[in-house]
Each structure stands twice: as C-alpha cells, then as structure tokens.
Subunit: 406 residues, 2 copies
C-alpha cells in the first residue's frame, strides 16, 4: 500500500523508454549531449518554467506544445542553451520536427529543452543525425543514459523513482535532473523531467506540479542566478490503469505524495552537486509567523555568499546567519532567534535570543567538516516552517565560472 | 568658483582633527583599530543606516545621539562589530562616555560605530586606555590614521576631499570609507564618515544625504550581503563662514554637487577594494523606461555571481549579463537590449537586439584583462539611466571568507 523507492529514473514507469547519445553539440565525444524520452502512448503533461524574462527558445516552443495538456516525448540537448540566438525558435521547432520524423510522434507533442552556454551560435546539423540515432537507441533501460546526456557541469547524474498506489493500482514515478550552476529557481526550476504511469488529467497534473514546486525546486539556490532555461515537466501516460484522477481526494493526495517523494531528493541532489560544491547545506526554519516569512528566511540564509563561504571553511560564523535573517525582508523579531548547526557528527547551539552562546569551537568544527550540514533556525513567532537547500561557495565555483566557455 | 579635488580626507575641512590608534580589539598590534574624529565646534549632523533588522548596537546609540540633528565627534573601532552581543548597548554608550571624559564633548554628541566580526564577546577595557590615547593623538593631520583604523579586510585606505564654493565662501568636504565584504547597501551604506566646514542646517543636511545615497552607496554590491552595521554620517560645522543653507537653491545645489563628488569616488574605491577583488566592475544602464528599472538592471548584473566570476576570468560571457537583466524584476524588452564591454583597452559590442554579435574573442580578452571594466547596457525603452559598482568574484573572496574569524 505504502510508497517505496525503486530502481531507475524516467523509465521506471510503464510505457516509457529513453536514450542518451553524443550528437556533436559538445566537442568531447565521450560526453553524451542528447537525451530522448518517449511514452508509448500520448500522456497528460504539465510544466513550470523560469520567470526570467530572457527565456530559452525551447521553453517558448514547449509552452506552445503543452497548451493542449498533452505530450508524448522529451528531447533535450546539453552544451548549448539555445538562448539569445536569432534562429532559436527555428532550431527548437526543428528539433521537434526531427523527433516526429524519427519516431512518428507529432512534433506538437514534443517537450524540447536545451542547456549549456547562452548566446552561442547553433545549427540543426548535429540533430539531423543525432535525433535518429537517439530514436534508434530508445530502450526501457535507457533512463540512465538520458540522465547523463542532460548533464553540463554536474558531476553526478541525478535520477530516482518511486512506486506508489492510486485507487488500488500500483503506479510508478521517476525523474531525472540537471543542476549545477545558474540555479536560483523562481516559480520554476532547472531541468527536471518526471514520468509516471499514473492516470491523471492534465489540469490536476498541472495543479499537483504547481503546488509542489514552491516547496521543492523553488527552495534551492546554488548561486542566486535564475537561469533562462529552467523547466520542470511531468508526463503521465496512465498505463498503470488506475481510474484517472480528475479532482481532489485520496488519489490526488497519493499522487502528490509520490511527486514530493521524487522532487525532494532531486532538490537535495541538485544542491549537493552545485558547481564547485563540497557540501550540501540545508536550512530549516521553524516557528515563523507565516510560510512566506519562513521561506524568505531559509532562502536568504542559503543564498548568502558569506554564509556559504564560512561553511566551506567549516567556520561556525553564526553572525552571518543572523545577518542574512535580518535582511531577508521577513518581519522577524531578531531578539528571539535561536540558531544551531547540525550534521552526522552532532548538534551545537550557537545563538539564543539573538545573542551568542559560549560553545566549543572544536566540536563546531567537527560538525561542520561533514558533507551535509543543517542550519536550524527557530524564530519563536508562530507555527510556520520551511526548508531550503544550497551548497558551499568554493574555489572550484570560481574556477568553473571564471572560464566556463572554454 | 568651480569644485576641485584637494589633498586629505576627514580633516580637509576647517576645524576637524582626527586620529587612529591601536587599542587592542585587534590582536595584531601593527593594525590600528580605533578612529576618532572631532570638530572644534558642534556640527549639524545627518546619517543613513542599514535596513537590516539585525542592527549593530552602535547604530542604535548613534540614532539616539543624532535625534537633535547635531554631533561633534565620531568614534569607531574595527575588529568587532558589537552586534548580537547581549551587552552591546552598554559598550556603545560606554564608548561615548569615554569620549566625553577624554575630550569634553558631550556623550550625546558622539557618533559611535563598530565594524568587524558579528557576535563576538566584547568589553570596554580596550577603550578605557584607547580612547584617551586617541584623544591625545588628535591632530589636523590625523585623517589618514583614522582612515586606516576603520579598515577590516580592506587592502587600501579610502579617503578624499573636495573644495567648493557656497555663497562666495570657499568650503571643503572630505570623507573616509571602510568597505570590503558584507557590502550590499540598502537605504544606507557601509561605514562612511564625511566632514565639511560648510554651514547647513540639520534638516537640509539630512535631505542632501538621503538624496545622494540611493545613487551612490546603494548602487554598490560586493557580495549581496547587506551588513548589520552599515552607516554613513556627515558632520557640517559651518566654520567656512558661508550663510547657513536652510532651503533649496544654488547654495544647496552646490553642496549636493560637492557631496556627490565625495561619495562617487568612495563608491568606486569601495567596489574596487571588495574582498578578494582584482577588478572594479561598473555597470551603466541607459535607455530605461524609468530610474527604478535602470537601477534594478544595473544592480542585478553587478550582483550576479556568474557575471562576476566571468569577469575574474576575463571571459566575455555576455549571456550571463542577459540572464541577470532577465531576472532583475524590471519590465525589460529583452529583444531590444544591446551590450558592450569597455575598458582602457577599448570597447567591444557583444550583443545587439538581445542576440549575439560576431566579435573578436582576442580583443574581448584584451579589454577584460584590464583592472577597471565597464559593462554598458542600452535598453532602448526610454531616457532613464543608472550606474552600479561591484567587483569580480575570485579565489581570494572564498579564501578570506572561508575562515574570516581566525
């Protein structure tokens, strides 16, 4: 009855196959740069997009294609964002047309995405051979290759899947993500593709996704830069055979719970693999007057360059946490704030009622040398809570971004 | 008649003396950590403070002391921010009392400031000998020592002065600044102390300062972190003998012009000496629909970690500029945006109408290897303009902030 994590990613759900190939967008031939995900039947589809006014051409085309609430394939390249290119729309629609030619799926049922450098000239040429090759390689075991093909500066592929029950039917949901840099989602996210065999109508699917994103992907920040190409999509092909979810209720709740079970670990995986990161940072805020305040405080701390650099150095410089709370914009009573640091090595309280506590620097160092750090903030003003995820600021972030294009 | 830059800083104006000494807040005995600035007569005084809800105790005491629009001395220590300390107010009022004992200036006429680590225990002991020593060292030539004593991770002292004319009388105005990290002013600034011998009433002095700050210090960002201890104050002792400025008009305009001539170079100096910085970045936005949009765009670009890292690497990655424009919150027509990079080595256009231009990477590299870089953004939507200042993101920023407290 309950939910459980299972092997796999975007191919965990019935009826989905995928592939990842090298088509030549990236110079390094050993790096896959084109992913294709296909459902054997047309699926309900939902998406959230970046709020950046500069939008990659693929997002514009995807939004058009999803206007009818359905899709059947996802095509995504890495190595070039297809953003700020004069011929961007032409390229993105061309990619959809090539998917139609190679698979028979209507071009208007294709989710198209690109990630990589902005404003780099691009042609359709690599796709003319690459998309047929990706179509030929489609397989139920191809999810991992697809997860690899959407990576840019990511160091690990990000995929997972769950099994859950809706109306007595066993359903599966899985997802893959590309994170790393230019990550500060705002009403949208980096690239995340989720597939499920649960049956759910497009409106409820969009509702579930739109409800999940503010608490999941929008609570991550790697570097404060909201990408032009952020997008998360879900395809639900209904092949699990449950009665279609068309309204709220137990089935919808089960679906939302499964969605959260897929998105939260992807958030942590994206944050942990932020560009140059050595540590996952999680900020939990409790006792806030309302959710907006809790989120503002959590996000402000996670975004602070000074806090991030202190965590890199395993320095319990809690004054920077207080500072970030103070400029978060939330109406916090700064004289009621408690702060503690927590990790696998233990917990240490460093600030109570807005003032410093005597604490063992040695113990604090031991806690902060772990690879997953939680900063716990208690505001003592109400009952609202929020969690945000980020990573430390390191030499390697500077190195990677000081010369990303070469 | 005109305005000209002259030697000196806070002692350039008639009647001001200053000193900088080591009193023991900082462990390194060769680093000055206590500054004192005194006017021989009581002066009109104005200030702007940080909007961070977490405020250093000295700001609270200074705001009380300036409530009557007058002050006669500034005392400032570096090495400890006196923020988030249970006894912070006690320390700050104690510093004022010690100034009164050492100089005869009423404690309620003292501007008190602290800068350094937040939440570090502090006692009055170092000041009990330090403030008398600073008072004994007061001299018309002590401005430079005061500028040194307020430095934290700053690598160069920041001071300058101008001579200008009000109502036929020659006046002088000078200032010193402390910048470096946790710099993202918002309705206030880092520590800046300005002195002048012009006669101006407290209300017009505050008006002039409040009008200047939104275009000067509030347009700097080193790292996006709004400090708890930001403050800028101006003391005007009237010793130049001009007729007191009590309303708008030519005299007020001349005063504002002089103020801008002092604040703008201090802004550039603070940005150029940002923590770990190797380059001053200046972002000029023209053709905006309104000033708010121009400022939002300029500030967004200057704050982007990705843009800052690209400038460190002398990489003409203009897509990151477009990205930051897109998430600035301003209603920009992204298809009308032009971008160029400029420095002492020349100018290069890299983006027109929101799309990339072919350009020489070699020439771009040459331009971006200079130490002062201007990114010029034309929005083609109106007549409004803005300028913001920042610095590159470097290995040294991470190094300095990975272990600031030790």
């Amino acid at each position: 009855m309950g939910m459980r994590y299972i092997e796999g990613g975007v191919c965990a759900a019935a009826g989905f196959s995928a592939s990842g190939v090298h088509c030549g967008i990236r110079k390094n031939r050993t790096k896959k740069d084109l992913a294709l995900i296909v459902s054997s039947t047309r699926a309900a589809a939902a998406a959230c997009y970046t709020t950046n006014l500069v939008k990659g051409a693929p997002l514009v085309v995807t939004a058009q294609n999803l206007a009818d609430g359905h899709a059947q394939a996802v095509v995504c390249n890495s190595g070039n964002a297809n953003t700020c290119n004069a011929n961007g729309i032409e390229i993105a629609t061309g990619m959809c047309r090539l998917v139609e030619q190679a698979t028979g799926i209507a071009a208007s049922d294709v989710v198209v995405a690109s990630t990589g450098v902005i404003g780099q000239a691009m042609t359709l040429a690599p796709f003319e051979t690459g998309i047929p090759a990706a179509a030929a390689a489609l397989a139920p075991g191809g999810g991992e290759a697809a997860a690899e093909a959407i990576m840019t500066t990511d160091t690990v592929k990000k995929e997972l899947a769950v099994e859950f029950t809706v109306g007595g039917k066993v359903c599966r949901m899985g997802g893959i993500a590309k994170g790393s840099g230019m990550i500060h989602p705002n009403m949208a996210t980096m690239l995340v593709f989720i597939t499920t065999d649960a049956a759910i109508c497009p409106a409820m699917l969009q509702k579930a996704l739109s409800a999940d994103v503010p608490d999941s992907f929008n609570m991550i920040s790697i570097d404060g830069d909201t990408s032009t190409n952020d997008m998360v999509t879900v395809l639900a092909n209904g092949q699990a055979g449950n009665e279609e979810i068309t309204g709220e209720g137990a089935d919808y709740d089960a679906f939302c719970e499964a969605l959260a079970a897929v998105t939260r670990p992807l958030c942590r995986a994206i944050a942990k693999d932020g560009e140059g990161a050595t540590k996952l940072l999680e900020c939990t805020v409790t006792g806030a007057a309302d959710t907006a305040a809790a989120k503002a405080v959590a996000k402000s701390v996670i975004c602070s360059s000074l806090f991030k650099a202190a965590m890199f150095g395993a320095d319990a410089n809690w004054g920077r946490v207080l500072c970030a709370i103070g400029y978060s914009g939330a109406a916090v009573d700064v004289n009621a704030v408690d702060v503690a640091f927590e990790s696998a090595a233990g917990t240490i309280a460093v600030c109570k009622n807005g003032a410093g506590l005597g604490f063992s620097e040695e113990k604090a160092k031991e806690i902060l040398l772990e690879s997953e750090i939680r900063v716990c903030i208690a505001l003592h003003q109400g009952e609202a809570e929020a969690t945000a995820w980020g990573c430390d600021l390191t030499y390697d972030y500077v190195k990677i971004n000081g010369d990303y294009r070469t």
